[in-house]
């Protein structure tokens, strides 16, 4: 019996992209900080976590060194979040919390954080035992 995905659980998928050359602890702190922001802003459960970390050689991660008039460094992160449709206030709270959390640990400057959200319907997720 396969349980179809019709429930309320968020089951987000998160892609975290950064350049090669960081320690596993550094990457874990980023993933933890993003996940905690998801839990706090979107009220998902702590086990509702799927994060993929992508590491790139410098020539495979391209952005402008200055964007919106602000210098961006080689430590920049692109965080892409696939979630169920959420109200604007929750998304803004999520952005705020991600930036605050990563600023504290592992110490990523806010100018180096880029976030993109893609929203889908709850019926677009499947996991076993999702009700």
């Amino acid at each position: 019996m396969v349980t179809p995905a019709t429930g309320e659980a968020s089951m987000p998928l998160i892609n975290i992209s950064l350049r090669h050359g960081t320690a596993p602890e550094y990457r874990k702190a980023i993933a933890d900080g993003v996940h905690q922001a998801m839990v706090d802003a979107l009220k998902i459960t702590t086990d509702d976590r799927f994060e993929l970390i992508h590491e790139y050689p410098p020539e495979n991660m391209l952005h402008d060194p200055v964007f919106f008039g602000v210098e961006r460094s080689d430590r920049s992160l692109f965080i892409q979040i696939f979630i169920n449709v959420r109200p604007l206030e929750q998304k803004q709270d999520l952005y705020h919390r991600i930036v605050e959390n990563l600023s504290e640990d592992p110490g990523v400057g806010r100018q180096d954080i880029f976030i993109g959200v893609v929203e889908v319907a709850p019926e677009n997720w499947w996991a076993y035992a999702r009700a």
Copy 2:
């Protein structure tokens, strides 16, 4: 002459994410099983196939060992599917078939399969000779 993307073809893009340490045959069986489910559930043609397999060191693929009260293993898969908008029944049939196919070959437990779908308009795809 560039042919714009206005046709009915689905042209799905599929990201299959798993941890390092599997054989090419194992990954091919997964890709084949997902593709066959796409063909059977969505009635796309067999040549309408674009699959990318992403392999991660363990520390770069994070999820909870227990989710919805079910234990998930290190062999877990995240399958992300970008397709044209589809009715609910087709998506549920797709989930069911993916789980059945991968359970048979290469033998992935249903508790280790996670699926996310992102739907877009047909005009959002381009390939040469797409009519």
Copy 3:
């Protein structure tokens, strides 16, 4: 103070997928050509650029050797673009320009180019100093 993402800037995210075995200059020409097409078709600023290049061993990038009756080679590219919602004409212009640009430099055949677009709301992006 975190500035929420409410402005008009596009802040696209682009995934360029291809097989291992190309020179950095080849990949840069692809990324440059896609970015120039974005600037020309969507009227974004030249610093509005976020591109990730994903390289795959052959067995991890699967598509049919013949699609829509056209032979596709091992040099094929899948270009996935996350942008704000855009009118059809802009997207068609974008496809056309990408194909033209990559055909000129680095010389990718149009039969080897596949494009997928995912559109989101402007509120779904965050970057520091985005107004």
